[in-house]
């Protein structure tokens, strides 16, 4: 049972990102490098936020405090990533064999967002997954048996959200559109605060609301990338 739980949870959380990675990123060395750089950026932001959390001893038991700083740092590093990518854009084009890499400006945004998301998802879930293999499990005497599944579902949500956020954020920065940036920061705070409800085991509320935010964000990211409802429908029609 524990093994089945391990596999189902890891596939739930990382299956979709893995497929995205395999289909869109793995073929291009430059994208892999960008993704790893983004992961590293996320790591730095997380390190900084845990430093803050760790340094302020009296507030250590309040995760909300750490969460606020974590979100701020993440968005700051997202902006840093944006600056970095825009500065090195020309160089990156040279590096890559695929000279169309810059043709869609948001391509980098997607790649770096996925790197961000995967890293944050991995940090959130890896240890939980390692525990889920057994020998023990949750929910027999204490705790809730939904712990692993909900964690995995939330992780998936965060990974996808990070990807979309980066797309929106980058396009917002490109267009000086502060609404987009504002939405990213706001929804990030919103989702993170929602996850505090998990402690009360209000999983239905958290997950439902988070996924609604995810859908809204996805639609927005799709628009930012130049998609329309028409092109969405067209993408399902068979092309000869």
């Amino acid at each position: 049972m524990t093994l089945a739980e391990f596999f189902s949870c890891s596939l739930l959380a990382f299956g979709a990102p893995l497929a995205m990675f395999a289909m869109t990123i793995a073929n291009d060395p430059v994208r892999i490098i960008i993704m790893i750089a983004a992961a590293f950026c996320w790591l730095l932001s997380f390190l900084l936020s845990s430093l803050v959390w760790y340094a302020v001893v009296p507030l250590r038991s309040y995760l909300a405090f750490g969460m606020v700083f974590a979100v701020i740092f993440q968005e700051a590093f997202r902006y840093g990533m944006y600056r970095l990518l825009r500065k090195t854009e020309a160089g990156l084009k040279e590096i890559s064999e695929n000279h169309e890499i810059g043709s869609n400006k948001l391509e980098m945004a997607y790649v770096s967002g996925l790197g961000f998301g995967v890293m944050s998802g991995a940090f959130a879930l890896v240890n939980v997954l390692a525990d889920s293999v057994g020998p023990g499990t949750l929910g027999l005497r204490n705790g809730t048996e939904y712990f692993f599944v909900t964690s995995a579902a939330m992780t998936l949500c965060m990974i996808l959200l990070n990807t979309f956020w980066s797309v929106i954020f980058f396009s917002g920065c490109d267009e000086n559109n502060y609404y987009k940036i504002g939405w990213v920061i706001f929804s990030h705070f919103l989702v993170s605060s929602l996850s505090f409800l998990n402690r009360q085991e209000l999983y239905a509320v958290t997950i439902l609301l988070s996924y609604i935010v995810l859908i809204i964000t996805a639609v927005q990211a799709y628009r930012c990338a130049g998609g329309t409802s028409k092109s969405f429908i067209e993408s399902f029609t068979v092309r000869s």
């Binding site: 490098i33 997380f46 390190l47 760790y54 940090f123 890896v126 240890n127 712990f147 402690r199």
Partner: protein, 500 residues
């Protein structure tokens, strides 16, 4: 130059580029010219690896000709850099994959087989066992141990240089073969035994001996003679992983960390100081225009290099064409056309790395112990371009375009010393031995980023750079930071199911 060959060619070019990067010193002049030529010609048809060179470039390459450099000019430089970067991107990935695989083997072993994380016996080189409860004593012990290990390594390197200078190739090869023999038989036997024990699988000695014999002999053949590239790479990765496991198992706790720090500093010194031992080795090798020893270097492309190495070396010396190409090789330029040729003094360094790698590899064998291997590997820790490649290039350069596909393998090759693999894996493996996957992951990403930066610096500085310092520094920083600061935060978040 057929279309079909183009892909291969490209690879070759890339490799070449990397080499250039390392070698960079000499290049600035000639290579720049070459590159420019290449670029203009079209990136797509990569002329065979050195095709660009071929075109007239060869003349430019002429070792002593410094004048070519001016031609390049600033714009040229920019172009060149771009080119190098381009090569870099693919190369980075070509190195990422094996490094990742090696780490995965080590981490998987550490987390599934208890044997490697239990401390009981220690290496002879680490006489202080850190059994005292006081931190101060432990630190002192760890430092003393790592200094002893370092001096052993330095000694080996010097020995190697002496042997190499005196052209005692037989002895060097003997060392190498002996050490790989030990790793392939003794250590893999231990590994298999522990693996079988961990999974509670019974096996009779006959089967075991049969399997070990085939595994070991095939390994020896593939590593020291010839065989499919993939197979050779697999064996080298496995050897590196085994060596890393040995380090993790037999070094005391704190000593491991001290050794990692000390080794990366040593790497820095040995590669970058003018009289650094590895540098001397490389220069010597370059002068002789010899290939790198196969056994201790991971080559992304041509395993044949290894097989071909001896011949290549011979050919290089004997054949005139090789000489033409030689100019590419930094060492010659460095020595023969000292100031003029070197736009960038560092050029030598690039080669150094390769050579060092070889050199390092050699030294290791001497020790009867596995340790010896380790040392050797340690020495090897740089990114190199194939040392052998140069010779090949030369040859090819002359008849480059006509024989595109066949030689491709030999030409290119980003080489990374097995020492790098070993110490990267030691770091990640050690991090994973505490059971926290976040730490492991952080170290892994940090090391990869360090590798990226090293390659980037190579392209920018055109100097030979040691591969360990940046990666290991990042790895150590992230290990300790994650362990002390990030882990409690991450654990709290996970336990409360708070997602940030």
């Amino acid at each position: 130059m057929s279309n079909s060959s183009s892909s291969d060619t490209e690879e070759a070019n890339e490799n070449t580029a990397l080499m250039d990067g390392h070698i960079a010193e000499a290049r600035p002049d000639r290579e720049i010219a070459e590159r420019i030529a290449r670029k203009r010609k079209t990136k797509s048809d990569s002329q065979r690896s050195y095709g660009t060179v071929d075109h007239g470039v060869s003349s430019i390459h002429g070792p002593p000709q410094p004048s070519s450099a001016p031609v390049a000019g600033p714009s040229a430089d920019a172009q060149i850099e771009e080119l190098e970067l381009k090569y870099g991107a693919r190369h980075v990935i070509k190195l990422f994959v094996p490094v990742t695989l090696c780490m995965i083997v080590v981490v998987a072993t550490i987390s599934s087989i208890n044997f490697y994380s239990v401390k009981d016996v220690y290496l002879a080189y680490t006489p202080f066992h850190e059994e005292s409860p006081y931190a101060v004593t432990k630190v002192w012990n760890a430092l003393a141990n790592s200094m002893i290990l370092l001096s052993v390594i330095a000694l080996m390197t010097v020995l190697l240089i002496v042997l190499y200078k005196k052209r005692c190739y037989k002895i060097i090869h003997g060392w190498l073969i002996l050490s790989s023999l030990m790793l392939l038989f003794l250590f893999s036997y231990l590994y298999i035994e522990e693996a079988l024990r961990a999974y509670n699988i019974p096996m009779d000695y006959i089967t075991l001996v049969f399997g070990m014999w085939n595994f070991g002999v095939m390994g020896m053949i593939v590593i020291h003679w010839k065989g499919p590239l993939r197979l050779q790479q697999a064996y080298l990765i496995f050897i590196a992983a085994l060596m890393a496991l040995v380090f993790i198992k037999y070094l005391p706790e704190w000593t491991t960390w001290a050794v990692l720090a000390v080794i990366s500093i040593w790497d820095l010194v040995a590669v970058l100081t003018p009289k650094g031992p590895l540098r001397i080795l490389v220069e010597t090798a370059q002068e002789r225009n010899e290939p790198i020893f196969p056994a201790l270097i991971y080559s992304s492309t041509v395993m044949y290099c290894l097989a071909a190495t001896p011949p290549a070396g011979a050919a290089g010396e004997g054949e005139p064409p090789a000489r033409e190409l030689r100019p590419l090789v930094p060492d010659e330029s460095g020595e023969n056309a000292p100031v003029e040729n070197r736009r960038s003094p560092s050029g030598d360094a690039g080669f150094d790395a390769e050579w060092r790698a070889r050199a390092d590899a050699h030294p290791a064998p001497p020790d009867a112990h596995a340790h010896a291997h380790a040392h050797a590997h340690v020495h090897v820790q740089r990114l190199r371009v194939d040392g052998t490649a140069p010779a090949h290039y030369t040859t090819r350069v002359e008849r480059p375009q006509q024989q595109p596909a066949p030689d491709m393998d030999e030409e290119k090759g980003v080489k990374l010393g097995l020492g790098d693999f070993i110490f990267y894996s030691v770091l990640v493996g050690k991090a994973s031995s505490y059971g926290d996957w976040n730490t492991t992951l952080a170290c892994f990403v940090a090391i990869l980023i360090g590798l990226c930066l090293t390659l980037l610096l190579l392209a920018i500085l055109k100097k030979a750079l040691p591969a360990l310092p940046i990666s290991i520094t990042f790895g150590l920083i992230f290990y300790f930071a994650t362990r002390c600061v990030v882990k409690p935060f991450a654990d709290a978040l996970a336990a409360e199911q708070v997602f940030i």
